[in-house]
Subunit: 316 residues, 2 copies
């Protein structure tokens, strides 16, 4: 068993968690970097960052000396710190724990902390200190799947697959889960290529499905988006691992067959409508716009807006 | 320190993890419920459920005697079990750990396990055993925010707010993050009411924004959806906590003002287009459809489809 640190050592260890700016830390006020002011002498020295919602964040990765601290001593220190933060009116505590320090999770849980999320090599626990039920923002709630309806206007053919390992084999569009940070259209193009060998480019977003408590999404919600893609290769070379069949099918046939899923049938009819009356009737087109507060960009999808409405020229 | 269990006891403890169907478990083949067949005598007795992708799931919550097991003994047992599963060609191991048993996380991590996800009182770790990079599905990748563009056709007024606590106060639509299991339209109606006191009903989905590596989404992606709502109350009673101002503004003014965000301005112009030329030009309407393999229903959004295309009547 690891040696148990004395309470004095624990205080010293935790005091090192703050930035090396002791003079500012001891001013007794919140400093410019948003670090919590030091509590009165005699109370716990545990320092975290104060966020703009009145919560405290503690990052165990910054507390290297914790390697020598055992779970029981950690629990005592955390308990004192939480009482101090609560008396100061803090609304919440966020505890960021590297995976190899996970022995501190159970002690925190015994004080009421619960997992907010975890990914790869760290977890984040929270404890709500404010009044009423927790108002902390939740973690990602949806997985996003994207399918590509690859339609060739010249031949009126649409690319469809049948999944391997399904009880009932029904025609559907190739597609799959988006990778982290991947744009909707890019997911559609990638998945279509991986499953069928067909190269294509994004044309529009056609339909969105939302479904909850999805077993395949670890109980979370599922957003499934269908895009219209234009093919620029036509020789099928489908993934034997994922697909049983892959074909270019006449769009009329797909719109009429019963051997398909309700959503595929609906989108086939939508495409038929667009093919006959103009794709502007069904397409959501995409544009990249700048975010206000960051240097990031985002993609925005909506029905195509006539140019005079975009620029407000001649609109009074 | 907790007493260390002998390897024999550990084997016995782990053997209890399977369902109480010893005769089927010992048939030496995968049984109908998908439980892994028992390994040869002398190897580790750790049992998990075999999934249809060739992975093994171990639920520590089912191993009550683990309360008496320490982390070192757990690590040894897990190591032997992993070697056994790998030799049997299993592709992955899923380890489900209750929060109060989190002392087993670090030992698993030292064998290569990483967090797949965690929520409230349990975490799930994974270890990929297959060839090449992991093909395990990721966890929820997006948070979903929904805003309500509450537009009153009779007066051409639209409901806008200015957030409190923003450096630059810009007019925008009320909105916020969806609750777990909440439909897009319900989020819009709820957020509008909470922020402004206005009651409204869902009319259509207008626009979707996708943004990645969002700091406000814990580094995950953000899907932001704007709905068109129709008000059925008009007296503003806005939340002083969240909003600085709240007004019914002429839609023309919102479409022209510079004191707004790019996305609000764009959607205001889209609404103006719909108001003048017909909302069917901009609306994605919603319908509830049954899922194929479950008894669940989902909501599907796309451009309204003429009735003859829906039923394929008179379409050849």
């Amino acid at each position: 068993m690891r040696p148990l640190l004395s309470w004095g050592t624990w205080r010293a260890v935790l005091a090192r968690a703050g930035r090396p700016r002791p003079s500012a830390d001891y001013l007794g006020v919140l400093d410019a970097q948003g670090y919590a002011r030091n509590p009165p002498v005699g109370a716990c020295e545990l320092q975290g960052e104060l966020d703009r919602f009145g919560g405290i964040s503690v990052r165990l990765a910054r507390l290297e000396a914790l390697d020598r601290l055992d779970a029981t001593a950690f629990k005592k220190g955390l308990q004192v710190a939480v009482q101090q933060w609560q008396s100061e009116g803090r609304t919440a505590v966020w505890l960021h724990i590297p995976i190899l320090q996970s022995r501190f999770i159970a002690p925190a849980a015994s004080l009421g902390f619960r997992f907010h999320h975890a990914e790869l090599d760290s977890s984040t626990l929270t404890l709500w200190l404010g009044e009423g039920p927790s108002r902390l923002p939740g973690y990602a709630s949806h997985q996003v799947g994207v399918a590509g309806a690859v339609f060739d206007e010249g031949t009126r053919k649409i690319l469809v697959v049948q999944d391997r390992n399904k009880l009932k084999n029904m025609w559907k569009f190739p597609g799959g889960l988006s990778e982290p940070g991947e744009d909707i259209g890019d997911t559609a193009v990638r998945e279509v290529f991986e499953e069928t060998g067909i190269k294509s480019e994004f044309r529009s977003l056609l339909s969105i499905r939302q479904q909850h408590t999805n077993p395949g999404a670890f109980g979370k919600s599922d957003m499934y988006i269908i895009c219209r893609l234009k093919p620029y290769s036509f020789t099928i070379n489908f993934c034997q691992h994922e697909c049983l069949r892959c074909e270019w099918m006449d769009l009329n046939d797909l719109a009429k067959t019963e051997n398909t899923t309700p959503i595929t049938s609906r989108v086939a009819r939508l495409l038929l409508y667009g093919y006959r009356e103009g794709f502007d009737k069904i397409d959501l087109t995409v544009e990249e716009l700048p975010a206000v507060h960051t240097r990031l960009f985002y993609k925005l999808y909506h029905k195509e807006l006539p140019e005079n409405y975009k620029t407000m020229t001649g609109i009074d």
